[in-house]
Amino acid sequence: MRKRGKNRGMESKDFNRKSTKKIILVGNPNVGKSVVFNYLTGKYVVVSNYPGTTVEVSHGTTKWRGKNITVLDTPGVNSLLPTSEDEIVTRNILLNEKDALIVQVADAKNLRRSLLISSQLSEMGLPFLLVLNMEDEARERGIKINYQELYSLTGAKVISTVATQKKNLEKITEELVDLREATLNISYHPALEEAISQIAEFLPEENISPRSIAIMLLSGDKSLKRWLHARLPESRINEIEAIRRSCQAGFDQPISYLINQVRLEKVDEIVRRVTMIKPIKRKRLSTRIGELSVHPFWGVVILIGAVYLLYQVIGVFGAGVAVDFMEETVFGEYINPFFIRWTGRLVPVAWLRDLLVGQYGLLTMAMTYAFALILPIITFFFIAFGLMEDSGYLPRLAVMSNKIFRLIGLNGKAILPMILGLGCATMATLTTRILESKRDRIIVTLLLALGVPCSAQMAVIFGMLSGFSPMMVVLWAGVVGLVLAVVGYLAARYLPGEASDFVLELPPIRLPRIGNILIKTLSRIEWYLKEAVPLFALSTFILFIMDKTGILINIEKGASPLIKGVLGLPVETTQAFLIGFLRRDYGAAGLLALARAHALSAEQILVALVTMTLFVPCLANFLVIVKERGWKIGAAISGFILAVAFTVGGLLNLILKITGFKI
């Protein structure tokens, strides 16, 4: 193992190159890393994708010994032998970020799992500070930790904090000097040790110890493939693989599992020696709520209550009251007239004026959409989502719906993007990243685009349906639900790839901290504006071009046989469908206008609504699908949806005609 200077932090050259010095926060999920991160960095937080992946990593700056240095908040991990994309990213950060100050944030009441990661950091030869957070929760559960003993057994500096109360957080930066390598080193079965040292011999000097990389390779970690190919010749890589294979042949359990078991044994021994548990009999209220929220009966009641609350906050208040105010008052009376007035005065060229403030103007249409229509909705959505996230309810929602999603070959985690989809499918598509397998992500992306109406569209749809008997609502929801179930089932059956396991940790139910929610919401809004606004501008621009070149009119003409013949709808609805591609709710609004003018019968409205709901998602959603899944899948999904929407709409029309059904 390489020797490291004991006083790395004191070396002056590190201070001069402030860009290289970083504080890296690592730890299990839900241990309070983000709270520590927010404390250290304040509001100067940037959330961006880790290069080459879709995993988000937050970074910001903090003052450390009089200098500004970068703080990285890595995704939560359970092991640094990666089993998920999040874990790969965290491991890669440790692999690539040279000379960083590592802070392991740990859950004091869950020392066992925390030390599992500590042992891996120690194996990597990385000095780190162990922050035992949530010391209050541990105390409530009667868990007492002997820090002195823990220090002498692990060699890692230990401090205890309560991040949500800012207790002891100032100590983190104070203690970051003089970090020592931990001594939590574990030896494995002699045959494994032999293979580890053989492989380690081949490996180049790196930021983390060759031994740790050798252990990862021996465990069959495929995520190191690129790294390996960039550094070693093919023959060496084959040799390593041969060592691994012959080593594995000597054991009937996977090597990674054997290694984990030895680590756990060692960790268990330490935990036994440093903790004292006085069992506390009294069940806390939060535990009780947590139990009820996954109860077969009460869990459903709570779920319905939560969804209703979401609907009230996002749908009624966000998409209703707030959007009305922003669109009609703020933009309609002040901002847009202001832009139109000033553009009229300052821009003499007519087409340029149109581009800025015309029917498909960048300022009037794109900005109104982005800021007046979507921003209020997603702001409330982010707040509600943050509350559910921080209270620990979200994973419990997944527990409640696992059974239903298993019917179509997915698992409960799929509900999270689906619920988001009721807010905005574009955003929801981005959150399919929480799903583990590529296959699951594609299926959920498809279902979102196909038939999960966004809140804006939903408002218009309900507006339209409200004038008719409840039968209409039942039929609309039934047909859309059936199509979703059938398509989901078939996609899960025929798409290649394994269904991913449902293994989801349930954090304790907690009272969310408002400050933390606000910081989270703000950073998400910032992220939304960066991701979505350019898309809105682009789609408006495309529409502008299509309008000016006359393509728009031609598409309308070309599509009318389909609309009239297959769907049995008047030609005027073509435009509604076309605009529906730009924004789903605008399409629906177009239908609403026609319905109000009594241009459509009840049956026609049903056909039109079903087709519109299933129809291609809005352009922003389409572009996000392409961005996340690539052109091929984006095109395939869109083509498929188009076919399904018109087939189902056509069939529905046919059935209604043949049976002479009257709503």
Partner: protein
């Protein structure tokens, strides 16, 4: 373990007495014939003609008459029936065979064919103590994987307390009960890695929090919701 991948009838119901080439010794041949008679009887047949057809070669006939002399079975007209001594012996063989089948198929996840093959070997060599341990380990199962009854042994009629299985799938643990993980049987290494990173590994005390709508397990202060298949794969010893 070494397997001989030969082809044979994968059935515990009716087998020819000389289905194994390896069953060469007289004791084994006797075991096989007793087992055969037991199986015939279970299927409602006790025709001497069947037995004779199976035991057509001269050596088998020798053994049959030897067995008759030894008082293991007797004929009455064209019917065959086991005498007390033979009944006892056959019962033990059947018990060993069917328990082994269960062990191999359920715990070691061998295919039906492999399990049958191995059970055929083990039925001759398991000691009564080991047989009872296997029986207890499996929780005194009443039937073999094919649904045929397993004759109960001494261990099964022991006081209620010891009848509780030593090791059982986590799924059999009542909600709220705890067990120590003995092993995790799964064909998905990724699943093992994920579970052990969460602290779910042999040696850990695990609590079954609930089974519906989704199983929830707890190890220490870690609560995890999992797929039902996963709780079937985790074997625990009740504590």
């Amino acid at each position: 373990m070494q397997f001989n991948w030969g082809k044979r009838k994968p059935h515990c119901h009716i087998r020819g007495p000389f289905c194994h080439r390896e069953a060469e010794t007289r004791d084994r041949a006797i075991d096989e014939l007793l087992e055969f008679i037991w199986n015939l009887r279970e299927n409602g047949v006790s025709d001497v003609a069947d037995l004779q057809r199976e035991a057509s070669d001269p050596e088998a006939r020798n053994i049959l008459s030897y067995m008759e002399q030894e008082g293991l079975f007797a004929r009455e007209g064209d019917k065959v029936y086991l005498k007390e001594k033979g009944e006892e012996k056959a019962r033990e063989i059947i018990r060993r065979h069917r328990l082994t089948e269960r062990l191999l198929m359920e715990i070691f996840e061998l295919s039906e064919e492999e399990a049958e093959k191995e059970a055929c070997k083990l039925e001759h060599i398991l000691s009564p103590e080991v047989t009872d341990s296997v029986c207890t380990f499996l929780g005194h199962p009443p039937v073999c994987p094919h649904g045929k009854p397993i004759p109960p042994g001494k261990c099964c009629t022991a006081p209620e307390k010891s009848v509780r299985p030593l090791v059982m799938p986590l799924n059999d643990l009542d909600p709220g009960a705890e067990g120590r993980i003995v092993f995790i049987s799964t064909n998905f290494p990724a699943r093992l890695d994920k579970l052990s990173a969460l602290g779910v590994a042999p040696g850990s005390i695990i609590k079954m929090r609930q089974k519906k709508p989704s199983p929830i397990i707890q190890v220490g202060e870690t609560t995890v919701a999992v797929d039902p298949e996963i709780v079937h794969d985790i074997y625990v010893k009740a504590v």
